[in-house]
Symmetry: C2
Subunit: 260 residues, 2 copies
């Protein structure tokens, strides 16, 4: 967590995160990832900003090197995928190696697994999910099924969206919350070139805000969503008024204003 | 492009790629990325394997450092986003800095922009899209609108999905194609622990294949998609038969077999 002065010399609290999606199935295109979008929205609502995402294959050396590299760069790391009982579930083992600690049976996770009886060979497979890095702390999965864990600032979550979401919910009060970056957007059916210069001038007057133009092409018409992102609500409203004026001056109509 | 011996001592041709998604709007959760999935499927059908994806913010130093780092690690890099005419479109400038070349007007792109008349101030904004790194080559966007470019092994594509897709299509015969990694999958309504041990044994017999188990939770039932990925069709069929037998022995029914 970093406390940084913003352009108005007030302090604001920035909490950053990196998301690490471990999954051959995402890289091959077999599966469309939706976990990132959920993580971004929920973490954003807690004032935790995702600054980077990496999607990597289920290869031990790649996972270990990546975790070692990113964990010191962000306040939090969230991983998804690879925590089940099959041979391709190597996340826990890789985290142990990334943190240079042994893989041990986590009592809290093992106890939850043993609640549901199973034949010995299946129980052995299931207990593989209790093998976590020494020092790992349970991340509760209230839906039952696999449990997550935290080691250091790395939060190891499931890849199944409903389970990942349940694990994330259980972290709400564990994580440090920062200032919430809000956004508002306004749509204009104009080419970006028609507003580029004036829009840039607004950005220069609001250096503590991110002003972005996200063009789209729908029903044979070009348009763009102009998005204003920042912390201070009053200044956001002032910037929005200026952006609306830019649209009107360019001959457009500000439409579909959304605050998030 | 690397030619590597596989476990059967035949050579196979592996062509690798990294995708770099440049976009605050993906990181903030405002937009659900769909470009990666399209790129993965199309490139996969050309025998180009995506090995890594990074999603990074619209920050010049981050873009430059990332491009410098990844471009030597993969045969191809594909970027999406940030090539329009507004102030937050900084991809071209960053590519020039990453390659240590000046930003110059690309004649092929400028000619296309000048085809459509506009008042002088708007034309100035539009021509910003013709500023590309020295040595960059046009990537044709047959739909009109913004054009992409290639510099070295880095292919700079639009963020708007329909335009990105059009640009990608125009690259089909420019890119080196490798061996196509095929996959087949079979679904079983079994817990992963019930098949973990036998499924791992199949993986050991097919070291040149990736066998993955991707669990899901639907209609209050756990199931898993068992996926076999590799190049050799005959061996894939043989591995599939073994995986089906694993499911049957565990008391399940192999369902929904899909070849891709």
């Amino acid at each position: 967590m970093h406390v940084m002065p913003n352009s108005e010399a007030k302090t604001r609290t920035i909490v950053t995160a990196c998301v690490l999606i471990i999954g051959n199935e995402i890289l091959s295109g077999r599966t469309q990832d939706t976990n990132l979008n959920h993580l971004a929205r929920v973490l954003g609502s807690w004032g935790i900003q995702i600054r980077e995402v990496r999607i990597i294959p289920d290869i031990d050396t790649v996972i270990i090197d990546t975790v070692r590299m990113i964990r010191s760069q962000y306040d939090y790391v969230f991983t998804t995928g690879g925590i089940g009982p099959t041979h391709d579930d190597i996340t826990a083992e890789c985290m142990a190696r990334a943190f240079d600690v042994p893989l041990v049976e986590n009592e809290a996770i093992a106890a939850r697994i043993r609640v549901r009886p199973a034949p010995p060979d299946i129980m052995v497979s299931r207990l593989r999910m209790a093998q976590t890095p020494e020092g790992a702390v349970l991340i509760d999965n209230p839906t039952g099924g696999p449990q997550g864990f935290r080691i250091g600032n790395v939060h190891v979550l499931a890849g199944i969206p409903s389970i990942m979401q349940a694990m994330l919910s259980s972290l709400e009060h564990e994580l440090e919350h920062g200032d919430i970056v809000r956004s508002c957007s306004v749509t204009a059916y104009l080419g970006e070139s028609q507003i580029a210069s004036a829009f840039s001038a607004v950005q220069q007057r609001y250096p503590d805000f991110d002003l972005g133009s996200y063009p789209f092409f729908r029903n044979d018409k070009y348009g763009t969503n102009l998005v204003i992102r920042g912390v201070d609500k009053n200044r956001m409203n002032a910037a929005l008024e200026e952006v609306k004026a830019v649209i009107v001056v360019a001959g457009g109509v500000p439409e579909n204003i959304v605050f998030e």
